[in-house]
Amino acid sequence: MLNNKVYINGIAVIAPGMEDSKKSLEILKGNMDWYPEALSKMTPSSLPANEARRTTTVIRLALKAIDSIDYKNDTLTVFASSEGDLDIKDKICKALSTKEKMVSPTLFHNSVHNTPAGYFSIATGIQTPSVSLSAGDNTFSAGLIEALTQVLIEKNDVLLVAYDNVIPSDLACFRHFEYPIGIALLLSMDKHLEAIGDIEVSVINNQKSVTKCFNKSLEKMRIGNPIGIGLPLIEALIKGTGVEIVIPYVNQNQLSIKVNNV
């Protein structure tokens, strides 16, 4: 299907216990066990202080994942999140359940699914197109396919960031995520100096076994947040050569990803 090699020129993972990039690399190489630690406030360097003050955990999670990626100012962007900002939805729904129903204007304008994309473009001045999407539990793979089609058809670098925060307490009994995760990938037709590897992706509808995390301690995160299904790809990019990984995709399809590192 997508029989083209696409280079991965940058990767980043933000999750509890994985904010330190050196430690994170050792975990993703399988040299260290992962265990959760409290996340910092994740202040992204790209945002001026006055903008940063108005951001939420979800916005900072997305932007912090991008922070360490070396993208060009003509990059296209894909923001993928199953739930968007449920902390905001929780606050708005609480306000709507009162008699006065006073919704804060700031909360409302931060409530759209593409809010992190909006803050990213304002912070960087980048006016190129940006897609914000959701595909429920298959959001990471949907984001990856959207990014790949943009690389191949728009012939441009694409920065993909996939992120989901934990669910607020009132809603956690209806849908539960164990940990927040943000994963960023820079995809390109060209191999940059800092290239990590290349991938060839096909959509398959025969059921293969889904690839688990090589580092068994990461399995809790892979299955504990929709974005976690991207972790075996990150591990393979960092560690493996010539491996094929399989991750779930929409409508019981799967993505077969051939990963080569460089």
């Binding site: 299907m1 997508l2 199953s82 739930e83 939805k89 708005i92 729904c93 709507l96 359940s97 129903k101 006073m102 919704v103 804060s104 204007p105 409302f108 304008h109 931060n110 409530s111 759209v112 699914h113 593409n114 809010t115 994309a117 909006g118 803050y119 473009s121 304002i122 960087t124 001045g125 980048i126 006016q127 190129t128 197109p129 940006s130 897609v131 914000s132 999407l133 959701s134 595909a135 429920g136 539990d137 959001t139 949907a142 396919i145 959207e146 790949l148 089609t149 943009q150 191949l152 058809i153 728009e154 009132d170 809603l171 209806f174 849908r175 959509v203 929409v250 409508n251 019981q252 399809n253």
Partner: protein, 395 residues
């Protein structure tokens, strides 16, 4: 100029909005200049405004095996799937391509949030617990795409795009890319956004809701009327000249402000110019532009300035939001289908509810419909977060 994208054939479409269930009601309004907006009430809404409500959405029953998707948004989606012979057209496409070779891309801004709002309103006073909701099948942004796939029996690739008011315009750009990349042969694109308290009170908090019927381009405009709509199109990679085609798209980001458009319409202008380039046509080739035209001061100024930097003053534009209201995440598909109806029926809809034109806007709009044959029409959709998309449809 040479076009830079392959055209996609619009094989079929369906539309439900405040004007009625099925495209013919919207077409009637394009000729008569009537409005579907009403000075209506909505449960738990405590201020006065006009709304573009679709009749009896709450009475719709989803299919027995899809009951867990029950929410206002998916009920609205079903209303549209059930009219305009859309299901028959999908069955024909399934026979031609196979159910896994047809993609489904839907735009929505608030999905099934009404279920969550009602759960918070119905919270148990003693225990503090919320009544049970199935978030993944109702509230989740992707819920409507999964519902549409199952209701139509499609198993191909897809997703929901949620970029506020440009959502169901941007689905066309993604659909084009996936077809060009060979991921499928045909695609259902669409948009579904239903009225909810979040958008009603949210836009009210930004002082953007009009008590009066909305009057795009009018000096005495007071803001938007919120509407709801569901619309779908079946697009195929084909060059049959008997059909209308999507011939161009352009997308951009304002990089200006999270909820206000750039005052000079810079982001909109980039999207418009990209759409023209991809379609391989000149500004003078465009016969009609369906405006984003929300009737907020900031939109009308920004959009008209962006347009006047690309088109000459003769360009014919109108906003149809005075007929349907602002249908937010469904605005892109609602107005894309209005553009295809304009091409098919040689009609430019009037910019209704306009009494006193705002002389500060450099682009003029007709207050009566114009009957003339059209070759190329453009639809603009601009959203919160500075997300812009322009589409071009051609005969």
């Amino acid at each position: 100029m040479n076009k830079t994208i392959d055209s996609l054939q619009v094989t079929a479409s369906t539309l439900v909005n405040a004007l009625g269930n099925g495209k013919r009601f919207t077409l009637d309004a394009m000729f008569s200049g009537s409005s579907g907006l009403r000075n209506a009430s909505y449960p738990e809404m405590n201020f006065n405004t006009f709304l573009g409500l679709v009749d009896k959405v709450e009475d719709v029953e989803l299919e027995n095996h899809l009951k867990k998707f029950s929410c206002r948004n998916n009920k609205l989606a079903k209303l549209a799937l059930d009219v305009d012979n859309f299901r028959d057209e999908i069955d024909r496409a399934i026979n031609k391509y196979g159910k896994n070779r047809i993609g489904v891309f839907i735009g929505t801004s608030t999905s099934g949030i009404t279920e969550t709002e009602n759960a918070y309103i119905g919270r148990d006073k003693d225990t503090g617990k919320l009544p049970n909701i199935d978030m993944l099948y109702t509230d989740n942004t992707s819920s409507v795409q999964r519902y549409v796939c199952r209701s139509l029996g499609l198993t191909g690739v897809g997703m929901v795009i949620s970029t506020a008011c440009s959502s169901s315009a941007k689905v066309f750009a993604s659909a084009h890319r996936y077809i060009a990349a060979g991921l499928f042969d045909a695609v259902v694109v669409g948009g579904v956004d239903s009225i909810c308290l979040t958008t009603l009170y949210g836009f009210n908090s930004l002082q953007l809701i009009s008590e009066d019927i909305c009057r795009p381009w009018d000096k005495n405009r007071q803001g938007i009327n919120i509407g709801e709509a569901a619309g779908f199109m079946l697009l195929e990679k084909s060059a049959n000249n008997n059909y209308i085609h999507l011939t161009g798209y352009g997308e951009s980001s304002d990089a200006h402000h999270i909820s206000s458009p750039h005052p000079e319409g810079v982001g909109g202008k980039i999207a418009i110019k990209k759409a023209l380039t991809s379609s391989g046509i000149n500004p003078s080739d465009v016969d009609y532009i369906n405006l984003h035209g929300t009737a907020t001061l900031s939109n009308d100024y920004s959009e008209s300035r962006g347009l006047s930097s690309v088109f000459n003053s003769e360009i014919i534009c109108s906003s149809t939001k005075g007929m349907t209201g602002h249908t937010l995440g469904a605005a892109g598909i609602n107005e894309a289908i209005i553009c295809t109806l304009a091409l098919e029926n040689s009609i430019i809809p009037a910019n209704i509810n306009l009494h006193t034109i705002d002389d500060n806007l450099p682009i003029r709009v007709p207050t009566k419909c114009i009957k003339q044959s059209l070759n190329h029409v453009m639809s603009n959709s601009f959203g919160f977060g500075g997300s812009n998309c322009s589409l071009i449809f051609s005969c």
